[in-house]
């Protein structure tokens, strides 16, 4: 490749660079991190409402080299109880679950209970653990896609190659 040709391709790379970064970070964060979180939540028995309420909140550019990807998990019960937070971080103690309407727990017209005592939930730390575990593979995958993108743009010539 001649220098002139290389420079022409380099201009195209420079123009598309931010677009590539934005696309790569968002798509990799979604496929690698968020989907893993959702799968783990499903395996752990989370309700679909919590799973749907867990999403990428945004990407901040901290510096030219550093990006921060935020994840947000939110689901409030009917009385304002933060279920997502309890599932992830706080957990709950054993507690009684009562129906909103009196004598709702009937069977064949026979009222059998005011409510049930249920055991508390253990905090799963799924989001925290997933981020800890996947941070490095995520970075590797980003670098790999960056290399592959550069190779495509420079016609098979890698700028950075191990």
């Amino acid at each position: 490749m001649e220098v002139k040709d290389f420079r022409t391709r380099l201009q195209a790379v420079k123009i598309q660079f931010y677009q590539f970064q934005s696309h790569a970070i968002n798509s990799l964060a979604k496929t690698l991190i968020l989907e893993t979180m959702h799968n783990r939540m499903r395996d752990f028995g989370y309700s679909d409402k919590i799973i749907q309420g867990t999403a990428i909140a945004g990407v901040d550019v901290i510096s030219a080299r550093r990006f921060r990807i935020f994840f947000h998990s939110e689901y409030f019960g009917y009385n304002g109880f933060d279920v997502a937070l309890a599932r992830e971080k706080n957990g709950t103690v054993d507690h009684i679950v009562k129906p909103a309407k009196k004598k709702a727990l009937t069977s064949d017209g026979t009222w059998f209970s005011k409510g049930h005592e249920v055991s508390g939930i253990i905090p799963s730390h799924i989001i925290e653990r997933t981020l800890d575990e996947i941070a490095e593979p995520f970075l590797d995958e980003y670098r790999r896609s960056e290399r592959s993108w550069l190779e495509q743009n420079f016609g098979g010539t890698a700028i950075i190659a191990i």
Binding site: Y18, Q21, R65, R66, I159
Partner: protein, 224 residues
Amino acid sequence: MPFDDFVDLNADLTISDLEKLDNLAQKAEKRLENLKKRGGIFSTSTSNITSGNKAPVDFVGTLPLGKQDKRIEKTIQRLTKKVEEDVVKNLGKDREGTLSKILGDDVGRTLFSIGKNPVGFFTNAIIGATGAGFAVQIAQFVINEIQRVDTFFKAFVDRIDNRTNQLKNKEIQARIAAGLTQEILTTESGNVSARDAYNTFNEFNSNRSKLEDDFAIRNTSGYE
């Protein structure tokens, strides 16, 4: 209060790196343009080699490569003849015998000695062959004549260097395979994390058979 968390991503490549690369490429482009103006090997595009029938030009930039080769060959022949004639004039009637005494039978070792110390080699060789007191002058004359055929002289000195490098390579290969020397392969920019780099010490500890295979002593010199 919902739960929030984040992960950081540290990218290797930034737009400023691309700018730097662009500046370097711009400088290279200007430099090439200047070289083209001067003539020589850069005076036409290298794409001629593959795209058309036009032959690549020579170092001077005026003749096709084949003709230039012949011209260099003729120059070398003429100078070699001159060297032989002049040396032989000073060395007596037994021309062939004297020259073979100077160069000796072991041509490889001879070339190696010439590459290391040309004047010393010829002086000793001529003293050995003739016992002449003017050996230094003759040696200097021979060296001057050889150095005039500059490309030839450089080529065989490079060849000798290359052969000694091959020996060094073999030694390094053996030392790496034995875990005595560390080689770390990283990116061109050098800023790859340690986890991505290829480290022979790590390979020695974790996967010795692979390391031995990677750095098995191979003859890469082109000579059997």
